[in-house]
């Protein structure tokens, strides 16, 4: 296997790792946005999830308890968002911003109060993290050209949350297109009046959607601090929630295209990390900042209709009033 091919393989491997929180957050975003509720607070929930997961894992020594509590904390934030947007018909963008600010403030404040380490959690030990899962016969396959390294690097040796994220995509798609809940969810984001007049509660339906959003965000947060990283660092979500939101828009609110968008955005980040300071023939120094900004630029171009066509749920952003 050539060196370039191996480097490329490692980049793909990194792509998967970088894309995992994006995928989980983006699937979360699909549920909320498809129900008609703008969610720019993916970022805040991701941050809160990461903090709670690392904190609980550190205090209890159990990574699983950490993940469960991360999910719970994100569901609570999601319920606040729902309370403001669904029950009180508040502005969804404002509510989302509030949650992002609350997450920023709470994680740092509580972090400092608990650990006195400037907002970080102590480094997590092995039992307090999700460790890579080695698949069967990795060593045996090593000898096989191409497939061997691909099996070892790309398919095996990820932590369980990476696989969970990938499984969540078909789960989301099935939920959305093959179930009663999904049919109603898609309808409520388009014409909530139709759902109401069919005798289905718009409020309860939307609450279920935001709860699912919290659940997925919690997993994403747990991944950041207890799988990919080894502890919580201030502001460690670093805009990933917004990239996930961009991926939701870029994938037109449909699970599989959204997955592809997440992988593309993940690849750009992974590649730019690898190309930092590297001179590329003909181009010169790799434009890593451009690569990092590409997801945002592409989303702007898509929204403006310069490439493709964006078709958001038609009732998105509008509180429902009988």
């Amino acid at each position: 296997m050539s060196d370039f091919a191996f480097q490329f393989l490692l980049t793909l491997d990194a792509t998967l790792r970088v894309a995992t929180p994006l995928i989980l957050c983006a699937m979360a975003g699909i549920f909320s946005e498809r129900s008609g509720i703008i969610d720019i607070s993916l970022e805040g929930k991701l941050l809160m999830g990461a903090f709670v997961a690392a904190t609980i894992a550190s205090l209890s020594g159990s990574v699983w308890l950490g993940a469960i509590c991360a999910i719970l904390s994100c569901v609570i934030l999601a319920l606040i968002h729902g309370f403001a947007c669904i029950t009180h018909r508040g502005n969804q963008v404002v509510s989302g911003l509030a949650i992002n600010m609350l997450a920023s403030g709470l994680t740092v404040t509580v972090g400092i109060a608990l650990f006195r380490q400037g907002g970080q959690t102590p480094p997590l030990g092995n039992t307090e993290r999700f460790r890579p899962v080695e698949w069967w016969f990795v060593d045996a396959f090593d000898a096989v050209p191409v497939l061997g390294p691909v099996y070892r690097e790309l398919i095996s040796n990820h932590n369980i949350l990476v696989y969970v994220a990938l499984i969540m995509v078909p789960v989301t798609a099935l939920l959305l297109y093959k179930t009663r809940f999904g049919l109603r969810l898609r309808a409520v984001g388009e014409v909530p009046e139709a759902v109401d007049s069919a005798g289905v509660s718009v409020t309860w339906l939307r609450y279920r959607a935001v709860i699912l959003t919290g659940l997925f965000c919690g997993l994403a947060g747990a991944y950041l601090s207890t799988a990919q990283g080894a502890g919580f660092v201030r502001e460690m979500s670093a805009g990933k929630g917004y990239i996930a939101l961009a991926a939701v828009i870029f994938g037109n609110w449909r699970p599989v295209p959204v997955l592809l968008a997440c992988l593309l955005f993940g690849f750009l980040e992974a590649a730019s990390a690898r190309l930092q300071g590297v001179d590329i023939p003909l181009i010169g120094e790799a434009p890593t900042q451009l690569m990092l900004a590409l997801p945002y630029i592409m989303t702007v171009l898509l929204l403006a209709g310069f490439v493709g066509r964006s078709s958001p749920p038609s009732a998105i952003g509008e509180p429902y009033q009988k």
Partner: protein, 374 residues
């Protein structure tokens, strides 16, 4: 439950915001309590830190200046019913404009020329960064909220690229520009006052504060006294009626976003020209987002924006004092307060509206029938 009677105007303008603010602060107080500290003591420390210590008022007003600009940015757009959450990026790019003028012109021109031009450049660069999302909303139908979020990140990438590249101070490893020459530095108010033989403690408060006050007045004139202001409000309140009335709705939206971006860009005059004297990474540090809280609390009105900015300025300055006095709480608690304020004054703004209206209706005598019903 029967629908609540309409809320009287005075209650809507004064009482309701006050209730929302109080609830937000109460919740924060409970959190402080949960962290094992006394919230009353914390508030005392913050008030002392914001107003009492020598120079503290200057610091408070210096922070206030930032908030006035970013609050105005949100408010101008909000008058046209546009939600500009790109103040962060617009201020960042505004800093680039101010910095470029100061870097190139300050070594060879006097301060009276450099500073006005740098201020203009900050406004202009910010305006462009607001105008583009405005254009995309008005003419291409892109959702302004999403576009401005994206523009924040694009601005950030551009600034990292420039500050770690072309504009990086030669021979330095940290990503910022060289220091501006003296002519590129906004005069400090304490220097000016001391020159007039008032004895004032040193603080970062600079001329930008007066610029901010002027901007508040300018905002009031623009929105309520001019024809274009009428058009902005018409577009905001009813774009269909505005179109019917011959108002060029997309143009007005673009104009409002340009003014909005200019206001955000002016924030850089305080931070870059006034204090840092060089363009540094992430100097906007959340002021752009805080502007949303300011505009919400201030109800998009100049007087409200001023007092909301003052409150936030005091929180920022007083919050810094917490670090010295407490083990468990730091100035970061201000972020929490900010979040609570946005939640209760913004997203949940009308949660207490109906209960308050019922309470008032019960307290007051039966009101006369509403005018116009006859």
């Amino acid at each position: 439950m029967t629908p609540a009677p309409p809320l009287p105007r005075w209650a809507d303008v004064f009482v309701l915001p006050l209730i929302n603010l109080t609830v937000a602060l109460l919740v924060c107080g409970l959190i402080v309590l949960a962290l094992g500290e006394n919230p009353i003591v914390a508030i005392q420390v913050m008030i002392k830190g914001a107003f009492v210590y020598p120079g503290s008022l200057g610091y408070t007003l210096y922070y206030t200046t930032n908030f006035i600009f970013t609050g105005l940015a949100v408010a101008v757009a909000a008058q046209a019913m546009m939600f500009n959450i790109g103040g962060e990026g617009q201020a960042y790019i505004g800093g680039l404009g101010a910095g470029l003028v100061a870097l190139w012109l300050a070594p060879m021109a006097p301060v009276v020329l450099v500073i006005p031009l740098a201020v203009l450049a900050a406004a202009l660069f910010g305006a462009v960064w607001g105008l583009v999302p405005g254009y995309l909303q008005a003419y291409r139908g892109s959702h302004i909220v999403i576009t401005t979020i994206m523009f924040n990140f694009i601005a950030s990438a551009i600034m990292v690229w420039l500050l770690a590249g072309t504009l990086m101070q030669p021979g330095q490893q940290s990503p910022h520009t060289a220091q501006f020459a003296a002519a590129g530095q906004m005069p400090k108010l304490h220097d000016m006052l001391n020159a007039l033989s008032f004895n004032v403690a040193a603080s970062p408060l600079n001329l930008s504060f007066l610029l901010a006050l002027a901007a508040l007045f300018g905002f009031w004139v623009l929105i309520w006294k001019t024809r274009i202001g009428y058009e902005i409000r018409a577009v905001g309140q009813n774009p269909k009626a505005a179109h019917y009335a011959g108002i060029n709705v997309p143009m007005v939206i673009v104009f409002a976003l340009a003014v909005s971006g200019a206001c955000a860009g002016l924030m850089a005059t305080n931070e870059i020209l006034g204090v840092q004297h060089r363009v540094v990474l992430n100097f906007t540090s959340g002021y752009g987002f805080a502007g949303i809280a300011i505009a919400l609390m201030g109800r998009n009105h100049p007087v409200g924006i001023f007092f909301a900015s003052l409150l936030f300025g005091a929180l920022y300055q007083g919050g810094a004092e917490l670090d010295f006095e407490f083990q468990s709480i730091t100035r970061e608690i201000v972020l929490l307060i900010q979040g609570m304020i946005v939640l209760f004054s913004g997203a949940l703004a009308y949660m207490f509206s109906a209960p308050l209206a019922r309470l008032l209706a019960r307290l007051t005598v039966r009101p006369k029938p509403a005018a116009g019903e006859a």
